[in-house]
């Protein structure tokens, strides 16, 4: 920001306005943004949970069963359901961002953003279907 100016008749005092404490309630996009920022803590939890899961698996069947029992605790389940909601929210944000960040040319022609977005969502569906098959029926 520019330096402090001395008041003169031809160089008046500037009015510096500070953002309101509740600026994030003023527009839906601001609320979405601040929700994304705050929910990062749940994404961090998601990573920690995944690491705990991998560790339990690596320590043998008994430790894995202990982990499963612990995961069935209501508090952990509620936390994981909330986390899943925010992970999906962040994933959708990422897929909306992808066509803006990725510019792909095929034979000299730029691919439309909708195609990049659709391919991301398509890959997501395929990966989810594969995991469901692996976990439930594979």
């Amino acid at each position: 920001m520019s330096g402090r100016a001395a008041y003169t008749e031809y160089h008046p005092r500037w009015l510096r306005r500070r953002p309101s404490t509740y600026w994030w309630l003023e527009r839906r996009a601001y609320l979405s943004f601040i929700t994304r920022e705050l929910s990062s803590i749940f994404i961090a939890w998601f990573v920690v949970y995944l690491l705990l899961f991998v560790r339990a698996v690596s320590l043998g069947h008994a430790r894995y069963l202990e982990f499963v029992v612990w995961s069935r605790h209501p508090v952990v389940m509620v936390l994981n359901v909330v986390t899943l909601f925010f992970v999906v929210y962040h994933a959708v944000t990422w897929f909306n961002l992808a066509p803006k960040a990725m510019v792909v040319h095929v034979r000299g022609k730029r691919l439309p953003a909708s195609l990049i977005s659709a391919s991301n969502y398509g890959a997501w569906v395929v990966a989810t279907a594969f995991l469901l098959w692996l976990v439930l029926g594979g």
Partner: protein, 247 residues
């Protein structure tokens, strides 16, 4: 439709008072009047002391940006009839210091703009005798969208990051840097990267996206920033993985 509308104008007169106040004026509201026409009516007929910037009246010069009912808008493109029934509230662009009434201080933006070198940079200029730097339509399309920026600063007014972290270089400056980075005639992208990749450059953006929503020229600054993040990340990876000669 009502034939008159109340305009509430944010006034700031540093020689009289240290705070912003709202002053109401009643102006005609014909369907072909834009907000700027209403302000000019006030200036010419009701109160000559009202200060605001304007020039071209056709969405080209970018000087008449103000907050209209809380939304950053070019007042020459915003019809008063959209707010029929009123009142319509006109305030100076948010996130900038106010000099007087609706006039904001834009020095911060101008200094940031210069830092990204928004002009064609050449390592070696070829002599005029060798002719122009030719460009194909496809090469033009690569940067044309970003070249539509008119420096109206509506994106800065809509960006909460710029409001909270004034050191952030901001949407328009990054979009204009990309305009030149993507120009086939330009060779200055490595010089701009030093500015764009710093903490207050592209990484300050957290993809709120409002800069793109309010842009009157459909420049998509948010897109320019996300695209440059990918470029910077790939360049960073290259410098880490590849030997210097292969970068």
């Amino acid at each position: 439709m009502a034939d008159r509308i109340t305009i509430q104008v944010a006034r700031y007169r540093p020689e009289e008072e240290g705070v912003q106040t709202l002053q109401e004026y009643e102006v005609p509201c014909p369907k072909d009047w834009v907000v700027l026409d209403g302000l000019n009516y006030i200036k010419d007929r009701l109160d000559g002391s009202l200060s605001f910037r304007w020039s071209c009246r056709m969405g080209v010069c970018g000087s008449c940006g103000m907050n209209v009912n809380g939304e950053p808008k070019l007042t020459c493109e915003t019809f008063l009839s959209e707010y029929a029934g009123g009142p319509v509230r006109i305030e100076p662009l948010r996130n900038f210091p106010v000099i007087r009434d609706l006039v904001v201080e834009i020095g911060d933006f101008m200094r940031k703009l210069v830092r990204v070198k928004p002009w064609i940079v050449r390592d070696h200029e070829k002599p005029v005798s060798e002719g122009e730097y030719l460009q194909t339509p496809d090469q033009l399309d690569e940067f044309k969208q970003f070249s539509m920026c008119i420096n109206c600063m509506l994106c800065y007014s809509a960006c909460p990051i710029y409001g909270l972290e004034p050191a952030f270089i901001g949407p328009a400056a990054i979009a204009l840097a990309q305009r030149y980075n993507l120009d086939s005639r330009d060779e200055g992208s490595h010089e701009r990267m030093d500015v764009l990749s710093e903490h207050d450059g592209i990484w300050g953006c957290t993809f709120v996206g409002e800069c793109t929503q309010v842009c009157p020229k459909h420049v998509d600054p948010a897109g320019a920033i996300q695209r440059y993040k990918l470029t910077a990340a790939l360049e960073g990876l290259k410098s880490f993985v590849l030997p210097r000669s292969a970068r």
